[in-house]
Symmetry: C2
Subunit: 205 residues, 2 copies
């Protein structure tokens, strides 16, 4: 009975890697099956269609992302350190599970209905993040502006910097762990400059 769950999860994992890497359309069910050493029908046994498989992969990814962010939030005090912790955890994900961020990127590209499912999954996270930003702004730790748009800018920047390897190569940055660390540092500076009210952080809660 462990077997049952085992295959199902292996399918999910392989699909996540392919959908988040080469992409959804670029991946055939045969590809996924071949990589697992099973037949395509085994996949269709667990998931009635390719679209259903994508849905399941989205749910899985959203849950994993949410988990990582929850951990980052829970283990950091409010204020700038929390933002830093969240960005660090996203970069850790970019290193350890690049396919996960790749999938998120891919899904936003695919549009509805996949994108809708993802955003539904992540909505609670967004709500909490917005609340956090509002509180920080109200407390005077952060520049006053529309939290939704700040969230949007920060999201785009973090995902972009963490995933756009090709673009990085274009601007002359070679990928690698050391470069990734430097990028993270640079990005944190960038965000800090953009968000934090100077002189307010040492006194934050």
């Amino acid at each position: 009975m462990a077997r049952t769950t085992d295959t199902r999860e292996r399918v999910l994992q392989a699909a996540l890697e392919s959908f988040g890497g080469p992409g959804y359309e670029a991946t055939s069910l045969d590809d996924v099956a071949a990589e697992l050493g099973v037949s395509k029908q085994t996949i269709l046994y667990y998931f009635p269609s390719k679209a259903a498989l994508l849905d399941a992969v989205i749910d899985l990814s959203a849950a994993e992302l949410a988990g990582a962010l929850e951990d980052a939030v829970a283990s950091s005090p409010p204020g700038w350190p929390r933002i830093e912790a969240v960005v660090r955890s996203v970069f850790r994900l970019a290193l350890r599970r690049p396919e996960l961020l790749g999938l998120i990127r891919e899904v936003t590209r695919l549009g509805p209905p996949a994108a809708t499912r993802l955003t539904d999954d992540l909505e609670p996270l967004v709500v909490r993040a917005r609340g956090f930003l509002e509180a920080e702004m109200a407390a005077g730790h952060m520049r006053r502006s529309d939290p939704r748009l700040v969230l949007m800018s920060a999201y785009s920047t973090v995902i972009g910097v963490a995933t756009e390897v090709e673009v990085l190569r274009a601007v002359g940055v070679e990928p690698g762990m050391k470069a990734m660390v430097r990028r993270r540092t640079e990005l944190l500076d960038f965000l800090k400059s953009a968000l934090v009210v100077p002189g307010s952080e040492p006194t934050s809660t």
Copy 2:
């Protein structure tokens, strides 16, 4: 003889819209042909293969993007106003030719060899941008940091904000011209805070 160029350009245009919208793999040559009211073989007469068509579309897009940015640079003084002009021109593109930014996003996702061609096309632009940032930093108008990474962050943010309509919807921002203007304003604030050394801009050239 005008005829010749005409069909060819219409093919290019239709392909740009499809590749930059639904995506490269999601678009069949028959789709493009149907939208133009010609047969698929007409496309294959001008472009030997789908990949070759993509290459041509990439060149076209890179040229148009470069043109828009050149204009923005030429019509603005150095310093912060130039950055603002560039961001504005990208947003104008996002409104008037969304498929163009979509294509760039798509190509960076596809990876080599398409991505390589795009980055080759845009390399001169990147070099100039880097030079500009270095000069601004040297003049003390901009925070000192690695220009390549600043460029990367700015690119991710601008492209992200200008293209990720789905994500925007997720955080509660409905697309539309008014919303777009607000996003642009917010983004400019964001970038300005992140990049500009306070008090330095009034004295810039």
